[in-house]
């Protein structure tokens, strides 16, 4: 009798185990679309017999495992920053690229119009209208340079605003990691299931690595310590360390600091690194090239203009306000106020004779003058090189992003092949546990029937 009752108890345990198996399958299916979810596997163990007349005590649930590969997680955290960096560069530069305008409809067109005006003046050196045109086209060209600097500066400001936003997101994520560290450590200590927390932990670190490259060190209590740059801590156990942004004048662009140390120069990847690269290196490089063109234009025009004579027979003034230095020349480019106010001060003659047009011809011919880069390029060609540089930077960033994205997708596929939920696999699990449950139930019925037979014999 006791054996039959023992079998009933064993079957009840088995039924519970198979029901639990179904429960785990249900959990996996429910999370098929949950980002970062690692599939769960239930572990069963056979219970040994307690006497020679006992085949065994059935099955018990040993636990539920989350299937994950820490190495693949780490690999993902290492690959994501490079992709995010190139993506951020490509996005930010596409704004700068638009700012540069189309070929033949930007600074190059303004340069052509300016030299055309000198050409028209050379045809008719005593014409007031032609002089006025030279001044107007000079002002349009100067405005073109200044607007271009403004647009590029705006693109830098946009990158800076995004840097601030990214830092806020980084700080929110590090706070969450620290909080998860606490929960995981507490869960491990009291023996509760922390797999869901660990999934979330990995997902948060993945999100963080898209913003900034991180070094992740596993803790004994199950959590993670996270550092950036030259080992600057972001999360140590339960503590998170914020990245602070400080606006520095006159540009108002922010510098980043961790624990009071400036780490701006230490961030070389991730979306943050990409935005910093655009803000501090790429766009300033374009502005610097623009400054070189503006400086060469102003000095070359001024040199010729000052050696010439205006309509009154007086020596020419500087046509453009003389630039103090190459840096800032584009932003400060302007037609000399005295010339702008009185077009007769436009100097077209190489002699005091106002009918002479030699200087105007010389200035018109400056369009072909190789005055840039040590006498190797014209002003137009210098602008073309700037367009080429910006175009290449954007193109390279896009191509690099595509390549990096492929790598990230490959690693994600590898990670999914270990941790991802396969619906076919889960369907097989459903059948497996359902059939096992049915068989156990049938076994229970059989034992019950045997027990009934025995009880009937006793009652007779």
């Amino acid at each position: 009798m006791s054996g039959l009752f023992g079998m009933l108890a064993m079957t009840a345990r088995s039924l519970e185990a198979q029901r639990f198996g179904l429960d785990v399958v249900g959990q996996n299916i429910a999370n098929v679309n949950t980002s970062g979810y690692s599939r769960r596997v239930v572990d069963f163990a056979a219970l040994p017999p307690t006497s020679p007349l006992n085949a065994g005590n059935g099955v018990e649930v040993q636990g539920v495992r989350a299937i994950r590969n820490a190495l693949l997680d780490r690999r993902l955290w290492q690959e994501i920053p490079a992709e995010a960096m190139q993506g951020a560069i490509a996005d930010a530069l596409s704004i700068a690229e638009v700012a540069l305008g189309d070929p033949g409809a930007s600074i190059d067109a303004a340069l052509s119009a300016f030299f055309d005006a000198w050409g028209r003046l050379s045809e008719d050196p005593t014409s007031t209208t032609a002089r006025q045109q030279v001044v107007l086209q000079g002002e349009a060209l100067a405005t073109g340079f200044r607007d271009m600097v403004s647009r590029l500066t705006l693109a830098r400001r946009d990158a800076d605003a995004r840097i601030r936003g990214v830092v806020d997101q980084i700080n929110a994520l590090t706070t969450e990691i620290a909080s998860l560290n606490v929960s995981i450590a507490r869960g491990v200590a009291i023996g509760t299931d922390v797999q869901a927390l660990k999934d979330r932990q990995a997902e948060v670190i993945k999100a963080l690595s898209a913003f900034v490259p991180v070094d992740v060190i596993a803790r004994e209590d199950g959590g993670y310590d996270v550092t950036i740059g030259l080992g600057r801590p972001l999360v140590i156990g339960a503590s998170d360390f914020r990245i602070e942004t400080t606006a520095v004048g006159p540009s108002g662009f922010v510098t980043l600091s961790a624990n009071g140390v400036d780490i701006t120069g230490e961030i070389s990847s991730g979306a943050l690194g990409g935005l910093l690269h655009v803000r501090d290196t790429l766009i300033p490089g374009y502005v610097s090239r623009l400054d070189e063109i503006a400086y060469a234009l102003a000095t070359e025009v001024n040199t010729r203009h000052q050696a010439a004579f205006d309509a009154t027979g007086a020596a020419g003034l500087a046509f453009f306000e003389p630039p103090a230095a190459t840096a800032g020349a584009a932003a400060a480019l302007a037609v000399n106020a005295a010339v702008a106010a009185d077009p007769s001060r436009v100097a077209a003659a190489s002699t005091p004779d106002p009918g002479d047009n030699t200087a105007a011809r010389d200035l018109a011919a400056l369009r072909d003058g190789r005055v840039m880069f040590g006498g190797t390029a014209t002003l137009h060609e210098a602008w073309g090189r700037l367009v080429y540089q910006a175009g290449t930077d954007t193109q390279v960033a896009r191509q690099e992003q595509r390549t990096r994205r492929e790598i990230v997708m490959q690693v994600e596929a590898l990670r999914d092949s270990v941790s991802g939920v396969s619906l076919d696999e889960e369907a097989a699990g459903l059948i497996r546990f359902q059939r096992a449950y049915e068989a156990n139930a049938r076994f229970f019925t059989t034992v019950d029937s045997v027990l009934q037979t025995l009880l009937n014999m006793v009652g007779r």
Binding site: G355, D356, R361, A365, V387, Q395, V421, A427
Partner: protein, 299 residues
């Protein structure tokens, strides 16, 4: 064995849709705008080359405009020089008619009046201006090169010996104003107006040797005018040839620019069709993610 998870399939399908949709959008824009270059990053080398070509095209346009303006001026100068030559020829004929003892006093007076009329015509010719610029005043182009004195005679040349040249191409300039002094006087002691005044007096006086000297002096002016007209003619011819060359260069530059910037429509449409097919295929493949699964067989 590699496990295939739903997430992997979904992620790859989505990435393929995004990639092909982006390509299709780019191709569509290429076809609808007719432009291959939407941004410098589409082809940085072509974008930089397009900047240079636009600059070259603008310069060619400018030289073409300058050539057109110069051509109009030279046509005027040519007409004026033709008139000057005609007047000088007529003056020589009138003076020749007054030679010897045959002409009567009345005929001499008529000849002198004719010479005065020729002087006035030459005065008007040499003070010709084009849009306010005196063409025979050198670079003193806003000053009338010849002014009439109170007694009706013409004063000395007011212009200068420099000339205004206009660039009609790289390294090719053409004169548009001329040294009226060199034309009317050259190395002679008198200018054409002085010669005509003296000749008029000599004709009235019937001074045959002096008239002959006057005719010889007019001949020298005539020669200089003919020389100048042939120079102007040569410049006009050069302009004509230059205009043809500029047009050819512009066409070539436009063609190069078109190759750099414009879409090859046949190629672009074909590429768009391919992109559309790829996009449809990616969408179709993604739709097949709901393929039969073991789940379908569970009852």
């Amino acid at each position: 064995m590699t496990r295939i998870s739903f997430q992997t399939e979904f992620r790859h399908a989505l990435a393929d849709i995004e990639r092909t949709a982006l390509d299709l959008m780019r191709r569509q824009r290429e076809v609808s705008s007719g432009r291959r270059l939407q941004a410098p990053s589409d082809d940085p080398t072509a974008a930089a080359a397009a900047v240079t070509e636009h600059g070259a095209l603008a310069a060619l346009d400018r030289y073409e405009q300058a050539g057109s303006s110069v051509e109009a001026r030279l046509r005027l100068v040519d007409t004026v020089l033709s008139d000057i030559i005609e007047q000088l020829t007529h003056a020589q004929a009138v003076a020749t008619g007054a030679l010897g003892d045959t002409p009567t006093q009345a005929q001499r007076e008529a000849a002198a009046m004719e010479l005065a009329a020729i002087r006035d015509a030459l005065f008007a010719d040499l003070n010709t201006s084009f849009r306010g610029v005196y063409v025979f005043a050198g670079t003193a182009s806003t000053t009338a090169p010849f002014v009439r004195n109170a007694d009706g005679t013409v004063g000395a040349y007011q212009g200068n010996a420099s000339t205004i040249a206009v660039d009609i191409d790289r390294g090719r300039a053409v004169r548009v104003t001329f040294d009226g002094g060199a034309l009317v006087q050259g190395s002679d002691p008198q200018d054409v107006f002085g010669i005509l005044e003296t000749l008029r007096a000599d004709v009235l006086a019937g001074n045959t040797p002096a008239i002959e000297q006057g005719i010889a002096a007019l001949k020298r002016v005539f020669d200089r005018a003919v020389q100048l007209q042939s120079e102007v003619g040569a410049d006009q011819k050069a302009l004509e040839i230059g205009a043809v060359r500029l047009t050819t260069e512009k066409l070539a530059a436009r063609k190069r620019l078109s190759t750099l910037e414009d879409a090859n429509m046949a190629e672009a449409i074909s590429a768009m069709n391919r992109a559309e097919t790829a996009y449809s295929a990616a969408l179709g493949a993604a739709a097949r993610l709901t393929r039969p699964s073991l789940m379908d067989y569970l009852r």
